[in-house]
Symmetry: C3
Subunit: 131 residues, 3 copies
């Protein structure tokens, strides 16, 4: 499951990068801890991190559980779409929040697909696919 691990680790790394952007935005836009509001650009940066956190918590279990029942190539492929979707989402949110729909869709769709695939696999009691 090395390919799955690489996708999972890139998703975590991407999320940590978004997190570090929030730290930088605190200084740049003068938002003192513990506040998480007060400047539109800080709030957008924070929402990118939070929304990615919200997705990651679903993405990682869906990824590994789907990989338990389906071929790695499809599962890892869905993971790559998720990674790209998150980049588009972050870029859109920081420049024009109303345009973040596509990036959201491109990350939510693979999460939903992986979740449903894993659920079907678990309910059918499929044996693990070759890694």
């Amino acid at each position: 499951m090395t390919h799955i691990d690489v996708v999972a680790l890139l998703a975590v790394a991407q999320y940590l990068v978004f997190g570090s952007m929030v730290g930088q935005a605190r200084g740049k836009y003068g938002v003192q801890a513990p506040a998480v509001t007060g400047h539109e650009m800080f709030e957008r940066t924070y929402r990118v991190q939070m929304n990615t956190l919200e997705m990651l918590v679903a993405f990682l279990p869906a990824l590994y559980l789907a990989a338990r029942y389906w071929p790695t190539v499809y599962v890892a492929g869905a993971g790559v779409v998720y990674l790209i979707g998150r980049v588009l989402y972050a870029r859109a949110y920081l420049t024009k929040p109303d345009s973040r729909g596509l990036g959201f869709l491109l990350s939510m769709a693979p999460v939903t697909a992986l979740l449903l695939a894993a659920l079907v696999g678990a309910l059918m009691g499929r044996s693990g696919a070759p890694a």
Copy 2:
């Protein structure tokens, strides 16, 4: 561990449903991104998602680690209690926030029990229970 997988996947799906309710509440109550405040009902919906996120992050590892040391039937049973607790919590929070205690308890108790069971199992170096 198929039963554990099904419980885990239902917990993730439930959480995603709560998340989609937040998206709908944005439109319904006119709370523009990146704001997460401004309308009581939006905030309640958002808190249901966030609190479920907060629980899920503890529930999933506790579920799988408990399943490594204890019989599946008990572990999956605790997971089902968690799922029901979350439904009660969401329903209560959206109608009468002060009444969310029972739902909270019914989701926090299985998380705590699974965590302690897993910790006891890991510390005693128990071998895995039959799945």
Copy 3:
């Protein structure tokens, strides 16, 4: 991987303790749900929980994936540093928010190290180290 399980479970337990502190702070500082602002001390307590949630979501996968490729003693050791870092972070944030840097560093550094170690391991296709 019992040692890794113990570290992971302690991290989850620590996070739940921070969460229970938020519940207590609601009453103590009179912040009614669904609000998460309104009193500096409540907000600090909430940020400790949230920041720990943000870290935990990266820590747990990084811990287990690093343990798949590297010796348990180093991986568990990094995990212990994380646990100590979180205690320092919480204590600093609640008393003097500006001094939370060291605790943050001591929890972020092991997360980053585990993530990079896991990524190197996965990319090199290392076989699992003895547990």
